[in-house]
């Protein structure tokens, strides 16, 4: 019999098996984030040229481990927790086949450990992208393959849970928007993992000698079907988290279900394109394909993100105005709960993702403009704005909610939690902006020494590039401090936070015996009813004028910055 508990604070229902899986996936993800964060210290203190801490071999090893643990293990483990939450908890449904989900989890765990062992043995410093023909040890690839298979199993458990929910009629009408967004993420995940399998399995066979040759360009084209699309899982997931948090914090309802779901649908159709972003300056790739692919057909996925960029804060504004915060354009935003890390984290994530991550991504993904950006440090600057201040900060904000609701612990050190999104978001934003500047000056990414010590021929970057890198590094260290604050509060709360209900100890709390058995009941949760209808106030004016102003500011920034980069491109050597 499926056992459920109802969270007395939030009203969410947790199926016991799903609850354990959410906890274990989230906690494992946070461990990967800890590893990635520690490695980031090595990366930053080496690329800060005046410090230049690690020797070259250690630097490349650390950079490989940082990339894989942050971009793959942290985010995907946490996303598994989000998927189970979006299906089982939001739909009040038992998790389908919990044993399969556990099998998937353990495969992921074994894969992640195996890959880390390969990296830290020092013979697999091939970067996250592991471009052939540079070769890593076989268990580097095997670890990634096992991780991907495990993730695929958990994704199918998610789909299975949706089917169970529908057949057992646990909800009325259509699935909630947040679940819809999670479905988008899961569909993109299937595509992503398939691309990964197509290229990583032959590469593994090549590493043990069964295949003699892997074409380097073919590898790039298919690998980026994995590499880029996996980042689109993050986009879909963290946009869903934005909607969720807006709903929980403000009772915000989507301005229009149709528009928001249509935008997610655009993600399914177009967002998993864009592998071309990484091969715009490769040999022999046709222009037409590059233009079609790099622009997500016709920037239709960008359109989708711009829609979410309006509808998420718009929903908050509408909800706030209903509560009477109607003065001027921005009283609703000024009087938002800025001291609540769930809100501040979510809102900083939204702003930095849109203004920095989104705009720079489109600019550098423009077919010709990529010539002046490819493989410069502009590229990691861009994706730190999308996956660090975007995805990671959104997930951090969600964690502050999960500690009481899912783990039933009171948060310790609330003042640290209060500051955390600002320190983390602020520090990372400084790092990102200054790295963007250094990249514009041509400073290379994945490079141990911008002085080129030992090179036979000399080249010097302009002095300002060193300053930009140094300030960026200080911002990065501040970001790491923010990451440490997050780990302190979350791990500390799980260990020492006041128990909100009779609870087993920490270690037991994620191996299936979470809380006192008395809180669970075999009684089926009540039907999840449709949201209550509200009186629509039909006015001819805008519902969320302040948000519209912010959206126009985004557009103006976007247009100006976009054309500045064309101007810069026009100044380099003509080529054709």
């Amino acid at each position: 019999m499926a056992e459920f508990r109802e969270c007395p604070d939030s009203g969410f229902y947790f199926h016991k098996s799903a609850e354990s899986l959410m906890k274990i996936n989230a906690v494992t993800g946070v461990v990967a984030l800890l590893v990635a964060g520690l490695l980031a210290i090595g990366v930053i203190l080496t690329r800060w040229q005046e410090v230049h801490w690690l020797p070259a071999d250690k630097f490349y090893m650390v950079l490989t481990g940082h990339g894989i643990n942050a971009l793959i293990f942290w985010i995907i483990f946490f996303e598994m927790a989000i998927l189970h939450f979006a299906a089982s908890t939001l739909l009040r449904c038992r998790l389908a086949t919990p044993r399969w989900a556990w099998a998937g989890y353990f495969l992921m765990l074994i894969g992640a450990i195996m890959n880390n062992v390969a990296v830290f043995s020092g013979n697999s410093s091939v970067m996250m992208t592991s471009y052939v023909p540079m070769q890593a040890e076989p268990h580097f690839y095997l670890g990634l393959i096992l991780f991907a298979v495990g993730a695929l199993i958990q994704v199918f458990v998610f789909f299975g849970t949706l089917v169970v929910a529908q057949q057992e009629k646990t909800y009325e009408g259509s699935v909630p928007l947040v679940t819809f967004g999670a479905i988008t993420a899961a569909i993109i995940a299937v595509f992503t993992i398939a691309s990964g399998a197509i290229i990583l399995i032959p590469t593994f066979l090549w590493s043990i000698g069964y295949i003699s040759h892997i074409d380097a360009e073919m590898y790039r084209v298919i690998w980026w079907g994995l590499g880029h699309s996996s980042q689109q899982i993050n986009v879909s997931a963290h946009v869903s988290v934005w909607y969720l948090l807006a709903g929980i914090l403000f009772g915000a309802k989507p301005m229009s279900e149709k528009v928001s779901r249509f935008a997610f649908l655009l993600y399914i159709f177009f967002l998993q394109l864009a592998s071309a972003h990484h091969i715009l300056v490769d040999p022999g790739i046709s222009t037409e394909w590059k233009i079609f692919n790099t622009s997500y057909a016709m920037y239709l996925a960008v359109l989708a993100s711009m829609i979410h960029g309006l509808t998420v804060p718009g929903a908050i504004e509408v909800a706030q105005r209903k509560k009477g915060l109607t003065k001027g354009l921005y009283e609703w935003l000024r009087k938002a709960p800025w001291g609540n890390p769930v809100f501040s984290g979510m809102f900083i994530s939204l702003v930095t993702f849109g203004f920095i991550g989104g705009i720079t991504g489109v600019v550098m993904g423009t077919e010709q403009i990529n010539l002046i950006i490819h493989n410069t440090i502009y590229v990691p600057a861009h994706f730190h704005a999308t996956v660090v201040t975007g995805t990671t900060l959104a997930f951090m904000a969600l964690t502050y909610l999960l500690i009481p609701v899912l783990f039933r612990r009171q948060m310790i050190l609330p003042w640290v939690a209060k500051m955390q999104p600002y320190v983390f978001g602020g520090g990372m934003t400084i790092m990102i902006l200054f790295m963007l500047g250094a990249g514009t000056l041509g400073v290379s990414r994945r490079h141990w020494d911008m002085d080129f010590a030992g090179a036979l021929m000399a080249f010097e970057y302009p002095a300002i590039a060193y300053t930009l890198m140094a300030v960026g590094a200080i911002g990065g260290l501040l970001g790491i401090l923010g990451g440490g604050m997050y780990l302190l509060v979350t791990v500390g709360s799980l260990l020492f936070g006041k128990k909100l209900e009779p609870s087993a100890g920490f270690l037991e709390s994620f191996v299936g015996k979470a809380l006192d058995p008395s809180v669970y009941s075999v009684k089926k949760p009540d039907l999840l009813a449709m949201a209550p209808k509200e009186e629509e106030e039909h006015t001819s004016g805008f519902e969320a004028p302040g948000t519209f102003g912010l959206a126009m500011l985004l557009l103006v920034t976007f247009v100006v910055y976009y054309f500045i980069n064309w101007k810069y491109l026009a100044s380099v050597w003509p080529l054709g």
Partner: protein, 178 residues
């Protein structure tokens, strides 16, 4: 009421969309179409478009072509690497290998050359500095592009695709003369 409950209207797709969202979608879509059109427009009016000309090759074949050019047009040596001054408009070669760009090229300003690039071993990144043109160099592919250096001076070619422990020592040179 909220984003995590089933929509209030069973037939939610028939609920009319507000004016504000429609206007924003129209504006955003217009901007998306402009950005999309900028790429083909630049192919017609812009001067920086990457050619798609490329040939499959092998390190041996490509290396032989490089050596042929070096033996014909060598004019000097820098740090043990030959400096080559090929005729204007000719096919010019540069290869990347662990950890060197080879050879050094001497080109004339405002003249067009057909530049061939390939790698002898792993992938490399051809990053022309300080002009800041960046290309991916992939083993097995001879990438051909017409270049017209339009500023005289000394250029560094940095490797910006990670290629192992000596990656940071991989610096080449191109001289452009009036």
């Amino acid at each position: 009421m909220t984003s995590f409950l089933p929509p209030a209207e069973r037939i939610w797709w028939k609920v009319p969309v507000g004016r504000q969202e429609l206007i924003w979608i129209a504006i955003a879509l217009t901007w998306c179409i402009i950005m999309f059109l900028m790429m083909p427009i630049w192919h017609v009016y812009g001067k920086q478009n990457l050619s798609t000309e490329a040939y499959q090759t092998t390190p041996a074949k490509f290396g032989a072509k490089v050596e042929e050019m070096v033996s014909q047009y060598k004019v000097g040596e820098e740090a043990g690497v030959p400096i080559v001054e090929p005729p204007v408009g000719s096919d010019v070669y540069m290869l990347g290998r662990l950890w060197q760009w080879y050879p050094v090229l001497k080109l004339k300003k405002d003249q067009e050359y057909r530049l061939h690039l390939s790698s002898m071993d792993w992938q490399h990144g051809w990053s022309l500095q300080p002009d800041n043109i960046n290309l991916q160099i992939v083993p097995g592919y001879d990438m051909v592009l017409k270049i017209t250096p339009d500023k005289a001076g000394e250029y560094g070619v940095v490797c910006n695709e990670y290629c192992g422990i000596g990656h940071h020592t991989m610096v080449g040179k191109i001289y452009v003369e009036e």
